[in-house]
Symmetry: D3
Subunit: 133 residues, 6 copies
């Protein structure tokens, strides 16, 4: 299996439809960069043994909260973390702990973003439930 | 149990003698700041349920590697992570993953620092073994 | 007086209604984090002697401008600084000086944000004046 | 020629109408800061020999992408870089390379912003062409 | 009085001999950069009215602690702050407050550096006293 | 030619002996990370067309100076830039320009580091010359 195939499998397993749509946008801008994103972070790094995907998503959230500016990526990775099986509380705990290292502004912004994703998930779930009735 | 007592218990359980010596240095500069360090990060945050200490140390390492400048704290938390039961490989995996988010310079510096601590631990262990004979 | 009470007193004295509304939003996401915000930054730090609130707000503005990403917090603290009695010129001087240390992009973004708050205050004041007539 | 005149000449040669309009906004907030922007970055730095304007714009883009939060300035400098004669590919290559140093989130955000400017330019050009017919 | 003269006067008034020696080192590397340092930060910014030098030094310390990597400059500005009449406690309060915004690692590193300068000053003072006897 | 071979060729062409020795150190810590460094930054990115190596080294220097903490990497890339044919003046111009975007502390630290490498090169050259006589 090529690095691209391996990466795409990891990416779609945790990022679902959203991952594919981000990839399409990126392919329109730079096909090479889209390829790099699949091959390197997902094909080379996330597919490594040594840490399970849950822990990988939590350390990524810690890193993105610390950076402060990476709001789009943080949204994507809060979604990924939920898809990978992290609980909302584990995600919130990770972000809260960041107030010690990255400061309160970074942690508070992170919590607001996480909450936004939690509510979107809630909304789309209750929308699905309604449609089913 | 007061926040200070709770914090000191967590701090000494993962930070051992070294934690106490850092605290002493800090107390000489600012007794209030030393109190804050015990009470807030350790008494309020690390003693929370929701994430085990191993995961807490890995997300802290992710944050410190991302910052790039916090080398002293990174050393202390690589030590803490080992004390808390993280394997060297889990620590290295965490740092390697940071090359995706914080870039290669931050991740490479982080790996060098982790290696330094791994070797110190090795040295002090073999020194102990020799003394025992 | 508890740390929470002390913190709430400082927070509401400089942050007024807005402080309380931010707190409510945060309480809905994480009651513990809301408690930490009142107790630690406001109860433990801002209520310390040694620096007056005006200077505390100016150094906070300097820090937030330097970070670059903390726009919401910068808005809140420009408001706080005005409430605490800082003049617009002192706030602008603080931000302008940051171009030396944090660079022009950080300082220019900071100035734009400060101006936004100055104009909001102006608008709400002239709205009040009109209503009074 | 004064530093201000020298700076204004560089600024308008690469920043055109947009540069002047940013300057006006800034003059309304702080005339001194507007003067500093013209005199120091443009009058003192960009007008130096030693690097051509194309290279100066590419290193500025590298710096702004690395910072992560400076999106307005990045937009302005992607425009400047095009005006100075950089190709879209050179700008994209610069941003892509940043994924190695500043990480993927910074580089991906940078690419999205560059694309936005490329499309604006495209739109305004095709609008002009239509009007000419 | 030229910007250079104005800047040099401010620089030497708060930076004394040390300021001049840093300037010499810098002149050997890049005479233009040395000129910019005197003219822009000191000639244009620090010599502005609107904030007294004490407050200017405290907001600079806040900014440098927030950056985390600027240890040499932090040392110089802790010295400057003392020369300008700030007390040790005001400097420490400023740095302690940064743990809220920039996080504990940045604030702790800042405190260690400030302490180093405080002790150097103490040493040079007691050395002078001895010589006088 | 594999990504690794392509990367190693670029790396050794601009990084010479020093590049190989860094790689060896890294291989002892993490053979996988050493492989990633060769394959991704050098094999995938630096070996792309679209920008010449000189420009690639200057934008990397801009990024590393902006980060502030990446001193080891900055040293390596100042060396690389010289090896790739950049003049000292082009390197200094790049770093000086960073005072506008990343601030004076970052730019001044960058200049000091560049000077250190310039002097090492000078020393090793005059040592070689002596040996030849």
């Amino acid at each position: 299996m090529s690095r691209y195939q391996k990466g795409l499998r990891v990416l779609t397993s945790i990022n679902g439809q959203e991952g594919k749509s981000i990839l399409k946008t990126l392919e329109a801008i730079s096909p090479d960069m889209a390829k790099f994103v699949v091959e390197f972070p997902y094909g080379d790094i996330y597919s490594r043994p040594g840490l399970d995907i849950k822990t990988r998503e939590l350390i990524t959230i810690a890193s993105l909260v610390t950076m402060g500016f990476a709001q789009k990526e943080l949204k994507a990775h809060v979604r990924n973390a939920l898809n990978a099986g992290c609980t909302k509380d584990q995600i919130k705990e990770t972000i809260i702990q960041m107030c010690v290292y990255a400061g309160f502004p970074a942690a508070l912004n992170g919590l607001m973003i996480a909450q936004e994703i939690f509510e979107q998930k809630e909304d789309s779930r209750s929308a699905k439930r309604k449609r089913r009735r």
